[in-house]
Symmetry: C2
Subunit: 320 residues, 2 copies
């Protein structure tokens, strides 16, 4: 059988056709006509499913199920979107709407959990029983696999490690708290640190690197400047990796996963600049345990496609 | 059947005989002759078991199993003590030693997990599927019940929320990190805050309260002074509850338990001074969710006996 996974994003729906092994056979992207209208959203999901099956040369009878990854809170039992922070989606009974139109079962899951599930079955988490992905983007998305299953907590909202306080009375967060980890270790935080360092050091290599990129501050600017020997850029990298390590050490001390993978654009920086210093700091900051039982800190492997592969695997997982 | 639970402490072994419902039938305390000697420790465990059965009028055949709670890291599969922070116990195959002497099966578990299991089955966590106890003592002990089972993580060391950083680059902790929650919200931290406030305010009601208790600074001093209208005492209480709430909000955002119970001596302060302000802060600091799904913050119910009841229930749990 084959599976379809759909990643519901801000302006695009990205869908993939996946085989039994989590291998991606075809990918398709579609603009959402009107994301806030449940019927229009369902229409787009149905159209994507049909076109993707056709494109992959797979008859509809051989599609076992469809999964949707949503950037927000979902009710996995009913297959509904409860709430999303950055999209106007509230209380949408997506499974019901979808089944009525296409007769196929739709699984609905948080997108960070989808990414974790994909890496667990077909990426960096293969062979680990307990596995965590930390995706560094606008915020910090965490997906936690505990004993082979997505860790949901009592109300489906567990695992919000981006919103744990790592700096008491620190920077305010839109969630209402102060000092949340994602204010210090997300890609957005890295860009903010970089922009601040540039302003304070207009003659630095960092400032030059940014000027050469049309004044665009990216998550790469500081790493680029550091590679050119810039102490200002290096300082930003060190500060960022320090904050990243503090939160990852918290996750390790709480979950003790076999493997923890970091994903998102930032994770593509060279191992010398990111992964190795991160591993050293986490090692120093976590409770000592015997070598064979230590959490391995690695990079995620599936990149942007983790979301659709994981969404597709939601159906497969239930069938095993 | 009946069960025996033994709480292995610094100088005492405390044991209890428990029935099928987790009801405590008899309690016995014994000094450890030589805790660092595995054979002497086993001798004491065996003697306690025999005497307790006799005292409770229960023949040995009706003791289903014995459980031991250890303040440290254990290997639950082999029933061994791996490491304890405050006792000279390392790599002791307790189950094997015990079985050889008495023929009864011995379960070995971390003591905070025992307390959580007891409250879950017979105390504040009854009726909750997901339940956390936070015990405020010398450190912070957390016991996490996830879907009815103790949450162990990959290597049996998960759930160390006392050693998560809540204040980046903050106070040093013996674990090697800085800013660990237990440096701010344990009973020891409360005493430290109180002693500092007393030193800085020798004419305060707080200083008078401490003088009246022979100069003894306790976890109660600040609460006592605050009740007498002392702004200095109130400040200490506010600061302490603020730190306590920050870490509890982290635990809620990560685990979303149905119920979270706080235990340890500090938790005996009046609801007006501790539980109510704590509930308000945690409510404000956690990710909003519908009323019926919010974590209930309550007091633990079984006090010092949670450890022995939980140790006893280790055997019962396996039989259900």
């Amino acid at each position: 059988m084959n599976y379809i996974g759909i990643d519901i994003g801000g302006t695009n729906l990205k869908a993939g056709l996946v085989d039994e092994d989590g291998l991606l056979l075809a990918v398709k992207t579609m603009k959402i006509r009107e994301v806030s209208d449940p019927d229009a959203l369902t229409d787009t999901l149905v159209a994507l499913t049909r076109e993707l099956a056709q494109e992959g040369g797979v008859p509809m009878e051989e599609i076992a199920s469809v999964g949707a990854g949503v950037p927000g809170v979902v009710d996995i039992r009913t297959g509904s979107i409860v709430y999303t922070c950055n999209l106007p989606l509230r209380n949408i009974p997506l499974r019901k709407l979808f089944k009525r139109r296409l007769g196929l079962h739709l699984y609905v899951e948080n997108d960070a959990n989808c990414a974790a599930l994909a890496e667990f079955h077909a990426g960096a988490g293969q062979g680990s029983k307990r596995f965590v992905t930390i995706t560094l983007g606008t915020g910090i998305g965490a997906g936690i696999i505990h004993n082979g299953k997505i860790f949901h907590g009592g109300n489906g909202m567990a695992g919000e490690v981006g919103h744990t306080c790592i700096d008491y009375q620190g920077l305010p967060c839109p969630c209402g708290r102060r000092g949340c980890w994602e204010q210090y270790a997300s890609a957005s935080a890295l860009k903010r640190f970089t922009a601040q360092a540039q302003l304070g050091n207009p003659d630095s290599i960092l400032a030059r690197v940014i000027r050469e990129h049309d004044g665009h501050v990216s998550g790469q600017s500081a790493f680029m400047a550091a590679r050119l020997g810039d102490p200002v850029g290096q300082q930003v990298c060190d500060m960022y990796v320090g904050y990243l390590a503090a939160g990852i050490a918290n996750v390790v001390n709480i979950f003790q996963p076999d493997t923890l993978a970091i994903g998102g654009g930032v994770s593509n920086e060279s191992d010398e600049q990111l992964l190795h210093p991160l591993q050293q700091l986490v090692e120093r900051e976590t409770i000592p345990c015997s070598a064979g039982k230590k959490t391995r800190i690695v990079k995620a492997q599936l990149g942007n496609q983790a979301g659709i592969i994981g969404a597709a695997l939601l159906g497969k997982k239930k069938r095993i």
